[in-house]
Amino acid sequence: MATGRMQTDPMETGDVRRPGSVPELAALIAEAARSGARLELRGGGSKAAFGAPVHGALRVDMGGFAGLIDYDPAELVLTAGAATPLHEIEALLAGERQMLAFEPFDCAPILGAAAGRSTIGGVIASGLAGSRRLSRGSVRDHLLGFEAVSGRAEAFVAGGKVVKNVTGYDLPKLLCGSWGRLAALTRVTLKVVPAGRAQATQVLHGLDPGQAMQAMALAMGSQAEVSAAAHCPASPHGVRACTALRVEGFAPSVAARCAALQSALQAFGSVETLPEPEAGAFWSGLRTLAPLQDCAVLWRVNVPPSRGPAVIAALEPVGARWLFDWAGGLVWLGFDGDPSAVRAAAASAGGHAMLVRAPEALRARVPALQPLPAGVAALEERIRRAFDPQGVFETGRFG
C-alpha cells in the first residue's frame, strides 16, 4: 500500500521516516531511545488534529506495515498489517457478509482529514467505536492479538489468533486506546462477525433528553435486541427531536423485534419505521457527527446512560449543542465555552470527557483526555514506562 501522498499533503512537514520492516522499525526506535528523540507514529493521519499540537518529533510513517495477511471467514478471524486502510478491510468483510461489530468511528470528517485515510492500526490505537458499541462491544472487545515494537525497541507479540484465549496478560486490551504511547503496532488480529442480513430503524419524535434516555433504556432492556440507540434534539431550523433505535439481523426476526418495540414504547408516542434512505443517512450522519459539523469545539462525554441528561442539564443552558449515542451513555457536545465546566459535568455524572476537535490554541492548553485520579494516573505512568522507559513515544500530544 503506497502512502506516497504523505509527502505531498500540505499538513505534512518536517522529517518523516518510513520503516519497511520490523527490524527497521526497531532500529529507528532504538536510535531514538539513544538520542533522546521523540517519535510520532502515524498511520493514515486521520486523527492528526487530535490532542496537543506536536512539535519537534520525528514522524514515523507506518505505511510499510499494510496489507491483508490472513482471513478465514468461517474462523471469524482476520489478520492484517496495522497500516491497512480501514475501508479496504471493511470492503473485504462486506464481500463475505461480515463486519467489524464495533462499527469503527471515523474521525476524518470531524478532524478535517481526507476521507478514507483511517488505518486499522489507528482505529485500535484510538479505541474509538461507533454506535453499535452499545450492543456489541468496542475495539477492545475484538482485538485478539498483535505484533508490535515497544519503546524498548523490541518486537513482541501478545494475545493469539483464535477467538477464545486467556493465555497470559490481555495486552491487546491495553493497546486499544493507548494512542501509540506503548508500542508501534505492526500486525493485528481481529475477531469479525456476520453482518446482519436486514436492518430497520424505529423512531420516536419530540422527546426531551430525559424522556429520550428513558425510552432508550426501556428499549435496551427489552427482548428486541436493539443494536444502536441514539437521540438528536430538535434543531434550530425546526427539525423535530428524533430518538432512533436500530434493529439488525435476519429479516423475520427484525420485523418481529420492530413490532415488539412499537408496543413496548407506546407510552412515548407513536413509533414509526424510518424508511431508507433516511435511516441510512441518520446513522451515517451520526458516524460523521453531521448535526454538530459546524461546532468548532467537540467533546465526547462518556457517562452511565442514565446520567446523560444530567450532562445536558448542566451545559445546554450555557450554550452547548449535543446529541446522544449509546442510549445516552455517549454525549457528543459542541461547546466552545469553559472546558472545565465540561470536565466537571462529566465527572459529576460519573464519567469523563474527551476533547476531540478544537482549535490548536485550545488543544495546546486543554488535555485531550480527562485527567485521572492520582493513584490511577501513577499506575498508568508506570505501565507506560514499562513499555517505553525512555519516553520515545511521548510527543507531548497528551500533555
Binding site: 477492545r140 515497544s150 524498548r152 491495553l174 423475520p252 514499562a386
Partner: protein, 493 residues
C-alpha cells in the same frame, strides 16, 4: 513453586498476631485442620497448605492486610471460591491465603443502566438470580457457575458455553474496585462503557490474581432472550461435524452455544444421565439458538438443513424446555461421567483454529496410543476451545505423570496448529512452564513488566503464570544492540 522463605516461616506467630489485629475473631485461621480445606483449588493434583488463612469482610481490612504484608515482605495468594482448574489459588507454604468468600453481597442493581454492582465473593449464578425477576441475566456461564465467584471470574476471565455469542467475562465487566499490594484502593472503569485512559481494567481481567485484589465488580446485565431452542445432531465422523460448524457460521448464524462430543464422551455421558444421545454416531453436536421466537424457529430449520447437507445421521430439535435441558444434561455431566471410564481424569483447555480440528483429533489419538492413556473429547465447537479429558488412575504409579505429559503434548499441538495453551481455564501453575511454547522471553518480559507496574516486589500470587521469576529491576533495564533482533525473520505469531 518458589522455595519457601525460612525467615518468613520463622515469623509465623508474629504474622498471625498481626493479621488478628487487623481482622478480629475466627477470620484468621492458623491451625492445621482449618488450613486443610484451602490446600488446593479445582486442580487437586497440586496441594500445599498455606502458612495462614485470613478472611476479611471489608475493603479497609483487605487494604490493611496487604499494606502490612507489603511492608513485611510477606507473600499473599488471593482466593475466591477455589474452583480454578489451573491452580490459580494454590497456596504458598510461606504465604498468607486471602480468602474473599465473605464479600458476598449484591450492592446495587440499576436496570436503566443495565448494571449490577456486586462484591467479589458473590457466585456467578447469584448475579443472575438477583436480576432474573426483572427479566435480566448475567451472560458468562462457566460450568462451575453455581459455586465459582465473580471475583474469581474476573481474575481468570472465565468463559462458558455461551461465550461465542456473548463474550467472556472481560466483555461483560465495566468496572472494579481493587486493592493494590501496597494497600492503595483504586477504581478502574465504572458504569460507563469506555475507560478514561489506558484500559487497565482490560489487563486486570484474566491476570490470575497477580496484579491486585478485587473488592467490588460492576457487571453488565442483559435482558433474557425470549426463547432458546436446541438441536441434537449426530455425525458419522468429526470431519463432517466440524464442517457443519463452519457452515453454520458461514451462513451468518452465531449460535448461543455449540458443543461437540466424541464417541467416548457420548457413550460415557449417555450411560451416566440417559440424555437420549444416539450411540451409533462418531460425533455429536448440540447447537443452541436463542433470541426472539421469530428468529429461533427459522434458524433451527436452517441449521437442520445445513446438518443434513453435511451427512448428519440423526437430528432432533428440542420441542420443549424440558427436552432442551435434557440435551444439555449429558454435556454438562460429561466430566463426572468420566468416572465410569477411569478413576481419574485430567481436563485440558487448549484452543485451535476450528479448521484444524480433524487433524488435531487424529494426532491426539496417536498421542493417546503413545502414552497408553485414553482420552475423551468434549469441546466448545463454535470457538475451537478443546477440553480433552485424559483418563488415568492416580493409584497406578507413574500414571499421573504420564497424564501430565500427555496433556502438555496436546497443548503443544494446539500451539503448533496456530492455537493457544488455554481458552478459559487460565495458566496458573498448570501451564506455567509451557508459556515458552507460545511466547518468547521478550514477549513474556513485556507481560511481566505490567506485573512490576502493579506489584514491584512480586508479593502477590508469585509463582503463577510466568515460568521464571525475574526481579523487576532486572526486567527494567533496557539493552539495545543497535536495534538488532536475534531472529528477525522468524514468524512470531
Amino acid at each position: 513453586m518458589p522455595e519457601p522463605d525460612r525467615a518468613v516461616l520463622a515469623r509465623r506467630r508474629q504474622i498471625v498476631a498481626a493479621l488478628r489485629a487487623i481482622v478480629p475473631g475466627e477470620a484468621v485461621i492458623d491451625h492445621a485442620d482449618g488450613l486443610r480445606p484451602y490446600e488446593s483449588d479445582g486442580l487437586t493434583a497440586y496441594r500445599q497448605p498455606p502458612m495462614v488463612v485470613v478472611l476479611p469482610d471489608t475493603t479497609a481490612q483487605v487494604a490493611a492486610v496487604l499494606r502490612w504484608c507489603h511492608a513485611q515482605g510477606v507473600k499473599v495468594v488471593p482466593r475466591g471460591a477455589g474452583t480454578s482448574l489451573s491452580g490459580g489459588a494454590l497456596p504458598l507454604a510461606d504465604g498468607v491465603l486471602l480468602g474473599m468468600a465473605k464479600f458476598n453481597r449484591v450492592l446495587d442493581i440499576h436496570y436503566g443502566d443495565r448494571v449490577a454492582v456486586v462484591q467479589p465473593g458473590v457466585t456467578n449464578l447469584a448475579v443472575t438470580r438477583a436480576v432474573e425477576e426483572a427479566g435480566f441475566y448475567y451472560a458468562p456461564d462457566p460450568s462451575s457457575q453455581i459455586a465459582c465467584s465473580i471475583g474469581g471470574n474476573v481474575a481468570e476471565n472465565s468463559g462458558g458455553v455461551h461465550c461465542l455469542k456473548y463474550g467472556l467475562t472481560t466483555n461483560n465487566v465495566l468496572g472494579v474496585e481493587i486493592v493494590m499490594m501496597d494497600g492503595q484502593v483504586l477504581r478502574l472503569g465504572g458504569r460507563q462503557l469506555d475507560p478514561a485512559g489506558l484500559d487497565l481494567l482490560g489487563v486486570l481481567v484474566g491476570s490470575e490474581g497477580l496484579l491486585a485484589v478485587i473488592t467490588e465488580v460492576t457487571v453488565r446485565i442483559l435482558p433474557r432472550p425470549q426463547a432458546a431452542r436446541a438441536l441434537l445432531i449426530g455425525f458419522p465422523g468429526v470431519e463432517s461435524a466440524g464442517q457443519c460448524v463452519a457452515d453454520i457460521i458461514s451462513a451468518g448464524i452465531i449460535p448461543a452455544g455449540m458443543e461437540m462430543m466424541d464417541r467416548l464422551a457420548i457413550h460415557a455421558a449417555e450411560a451416566f444421565v440417559h440424555a437420549g444421545y444416539p450411540l451409533d454416531v462418531e460425533a455429536l453436536l448440540i447447537v443452541e439458538l436463542d433470541g426472539p421466537l421469530a428468529e429461533c424457529d427459522p434458524l433451527i430449520d436452517e441449521v437442520e438443513r445445513i446438518a443434513h447437507r453435511n451427512g448428519a445421521m440423526s437430528c432432533r430439535s428440542s420441542g420443549s424446555e424440558a427436552e432442551r435441558l435434557r440435551f444439555w444434561a449429558g454435556r454438562k455431566a460429561a466430566f463426572p461421567a468420566m468416572g465410569r471410564l477411569a478413576p481419574d481424569y485430567y481436563c485440558m483447555d487448549g484452543t485451535i483454529p476450528r479448521r484444524r480440528l480433524p487433524e488435531v483429533l487424529r494426532r491426539m489419538a496417536q498421542l493417546s496410543a503413545e502414552h497408553g492413556l485414553g482420552v475423551a473429547n468434549v469441546f466448545h465447537a463454535g470457538d475451537g476451545n478443546l477440553h480433552p479429558l485424559i483418563l488415568y488412575d492416580a493409584n497406578v504409579p507413574g500414571q499421573l505423570e504420564r497424564a501430565e505429559q500427555f496433556g502438555a503434548d496436546i497443548l503443544r499441538l494446539c500451539v503448533e496448529v496456530g492455537g493457544v495453551l488455554t481458552g478459559e481455564h487460565g495458566v496458573g501453575v498448570e501451564k506455567r512452564d509451557l508459556m515458552p511454547v507460545m511466547f518468547s522471553e521478550v514477549d513474556l518480559a513485556h507481560q511481566q513488566r505490567v506485573k512490576c507496574a502493579f506489584d514491584p516486589q512480586l508479593l502477590l500470587n508469585p509463582g503463577k503464570v510466568f515460568p521464571t521469576l525475574h526481579r523487576c529491576a532486572e526486567l527494567g533495564r533496557m539493552h539495545i544492540h543497535a536495534g538488532q533482533l536475534p531472529f528477525p525473520d522468524l514468524p512470531r505469531f
